[in-house]
Symmetry: C2
């Protein structure tokens, strides 16, 4: 899949340029469309190379949630108060450990303007709220809680507000969002060449990036970028060797989120010209065990029968914890009142009259589940969960008969993508190992670091891809 050398190629070695442009954007997904629009609108000649047959990237295949806040029109229409400060407080807590505060600050401060920009691009957000899911609603609602803002510990850190915004349609909305962004970029005069895979950056003798080599069917073509190259080529979840090298837990993910183009090539061709990478161990891992939220009345345990997280938090936090820290082994324990088949058909694999029987059926150590449920029930009679702080509305004693849904890797889908990538400054300039910008090289989207150091909420990837994509395109075209 990844064959050619990552380079770099040198300017001196290029006989003649096959193609010339001002700003060369590599990839036409969430970040690439926005970078291209932004560069073209700023007056630059823009060429986009998309290795697939059409634009859209991972975002087009996704739920399409965009993390926005600070009091958007949709938030206000749905009766939620929010502010830049509350959003910042939530994100610094949720995106860590070691949150990138300056990047988060810029993201929060730009959020309302970015909402307006998306609306101007033709994205329609229905001013309605869906409580039941942190993914795309089955209806046309435009707003969801997408990061456990209303669950411990975040509900004690910032006033909970839903910030997951979705384009108005039914089911997954990413395709519609990307339809708007692709069209906008083209209307702005961007030239897009599909089936053109960029392989290698070209540098001048002083290290300035001056273009790239790309493969067009069997041939190699050289592209001169008079102003800049903008890498928006996606993450690396489809490159198992890179996963093994940097974040082996994601190798266990069964339902990779992205396209085959997410093979890390964009990251590595920049590393080959001296770029630094960051947070390469980090990954989002959706474990879509709800809706319905009624299941939250159950408890989730690991392979030792121990709880490890509050069940009412974001499904991606539960997936991360289960995959990274508990080897992808998890079970949801429910009683009759809590049980129902989940939205994707996950059913209880075991149902027993008593807890010891269930424990034995699952193969958990004798007494482990019994002990866990005894401690849980002891406090649940008072609607309290002092160990993991699940919200009182979901806390009541669990009563036999009991059942368990197997939420382990295999029986349940774990849907990962990578969060680490090229280190950049806040203007999306790619930084070298000393922290200095590499001249004329920019990056945004999942081939770059984003607002998430490790923790994630749905919509943050498309959120920072689109916002920092715009910045990358503008600075690439204008220098500021």
């Amino acid at each position: 899949m990844v064959e050619d050398s990552f380079g770099p190629a040198t300017e001196a070695g290029i006989g003649n340029w096959d193609i010339e442009t001002d700003v060369f954007v590599v990839g036409f997904g969430a970040a690439g469309t926005c970078a291209a629009w932004s560069a073209a609108t700023a007056g630059a000649e823009v060429l986009v190379a998309e290795r697939a047959g059409a634009g859209g990237g991972a975002a087009a295949m996704s739920e399409g949630i965009i993390y926005l806040g600070g009091g958007t029109p949709v938030q206000r229409a749905c009766g939620f108060e929010d502010s830049v400060e509350e959003m910042f407080a939530y994100m610094t807590a949720a995106c860590g450990p070691h949150p990138d505060k300056p990047r988060i600050e810029k993201y929060c401060a730009s959020s309302l303007e970015h909402f307006d920009w998306l609306v101007e691009r033709g994205v329609v957000f229905d001013p309605s709220f869906c409580r039941e899911t942190s993914m795309a609603p089955t209806g046309e609602e435009g707003l969801v809680f997408s990061g456990g803002e209303d669950a411990y510990p975040f509900n004690e850190i910032a006033r909970p507000a839903p910030r997951g915004h979705l384009a108005k349609t039914r089911g997954s909305t990413g395709w519609l969002l990307m339809e708007c962004l692709v069209r906008s970029a083209k209307e702005a005069g961007v030239v897009v060449e599909t089936d053109l895979m960029v392989t290698t950056l070209i540098v001048a003798s002083d290290g300035t990036v001056v273009g790239a080599l790309a493969r067009r069917y069997g041939d190699t073509v050289s592209v001169r970028a008079r102003k800049a190259v903008v890498l928006t080529a996606g993450g690396f979840v489809f490159n198992d060797e890179m996963l093994a090298r940097h974040c082996p837990p994601l190798l266990k993910g069964t339902f990779k989120v992205g396209t085959e183009g997410d093979d890390g090539r964009g990251i590595m061709m920049a590393q080959a010209v001296g770029a630094a990478v960051k947070n390469m161990y980090a990954g989002e891992v959706a474990l879509p065990w709800i809706p319905p939220r009624r299941l939250i009345e159950g408890i989730i345990v690991n392979g030792r029968g121990q709880r490890f997280i509050n069940e009412d938090t974001y499904i991606g936090r539960i997936g991360q914890a289960a995959l990274y820290d508990h080897d992808g082994v998890a079970f949801l324990l429910v009683d009759e009142k809590a049980y129902t088949e989940n939205w994707m058909g996950l059913k209880a694999s075991w149902v027993c009259e008593t807890i010891p029987e269930l424990e034995q059926e699952i193969g958990l150590p004798e007494g482990s589940l019994e002990t866990t449920i005894a401690l849980y029930n002891r406090h649940a009679t008072g609607n309290a969960d002092p160990v993991f702080h699940k919200a009182p509305e979901f806390v009541r004693p669990l009563e036999p008969p009991v059942g368990a849904v197997n939420l382990s890797v295999g029986p349940a889908p774990y849907a990962p993508f990578t969060l680490g990538g090229l280190d950049t400054d806040l203007d999306c300039r790619v930084l070298d190992l000393s922290g200095e910008p590499i001249p004329n090289l920019f990056a945004a989207g999942r081939c770059a670091v984003g607002v998430c150091s490790f923790g994630y909420a749905s919509g943050m990837s498309i959120g920072d891809s689109t916002m920092f994509g715009r910045i990358a395109g503008r600075v690439a075209a204008t220098g500021t």
Copy 2:
């Protein structure tokens, strides 16, 4: 601390070479001494640059354990059977997840020969065994269990054999080991220049490494390496920015293992010429809570009052689990029979008549500790621990009064160093992002990947540094 650019510098930009040699070794610690000896013995002119005032590196400050097996004379004298196969079985289980089997295989197959080589260098191993510790014994014993070989799950995977070998002296032995290796290298004709800090690699126009720039007091000097540059410059535990970028859990470590020279410069100057890195998230974290082993009769719990590991395993596995997965919060619970002050003076911070009182004193959730101890005691009456599989000899019911030793970061020392670094082939050639060797560049020791992908046992770092250091020096000098 790290100021100059990581480069690379180009051969064309070098006016005249200040120094010339065949093999230029960067760093004079465990890997550097062995690489230098090996290159010199193979007939090469060898210059070593050591940025500190004297050689020895991190190894000289360490316990000095060397992981060797397969039936060494010391193992046999102490009555332990071992084989290359058993050693390989243990290491593939203990060095993972995702163990590097070819590297481990080479390590195991070369272990007996490496033992002999060390003895020939003047290292004396006393043929005696110390059961009480997995660190350096207080006596002169030459052999310890240093990786939980005799504890679950490894005792079920391979026949347990102690493989931690130490040079004969009292207390930490690293200084003595390094005295032998430094002297051997010098006797082999190696030239060592101290206070010479290598900053930047120099490459020819075809990417071949031809030398390096170094700082000698205020000046920059150029060193031409006719045959090769061997990087043995240590890990990056003393570079907080790199830790934040690649393995933030280690930032919490309070007692960094290494020298200030372990700032990752060796890794980054190679990255600047296109080298790939691997396992950068991995770190060893010693939590020296034993000896005495009597304390193992207690149980270790996290901030939620839950056990998370078998207490009889290697202290580094417990430290890793506590720091990486439990936020550096851990408590050792003991009763009167199990309690004693530990070897470094760690005492019980709390002593209570009942478990609920102790739980409250520590600040653990109500009932959490009580529940954990109830489950533990239920099985302990039969000397069993079906949840974490601590060996029966340490398992008996805990009886009030009870006390707790605070094993959290702060009250207890967490001693980390980094395990990730430059990717190399088994001949220690540094690999680029495509997996191809970078001509004339070698690496060994903690600036390179070693036998540990993540899991660690005491002695593996000096073990692979010295063994692969020898290989790096030989191949650098002779090409094979």
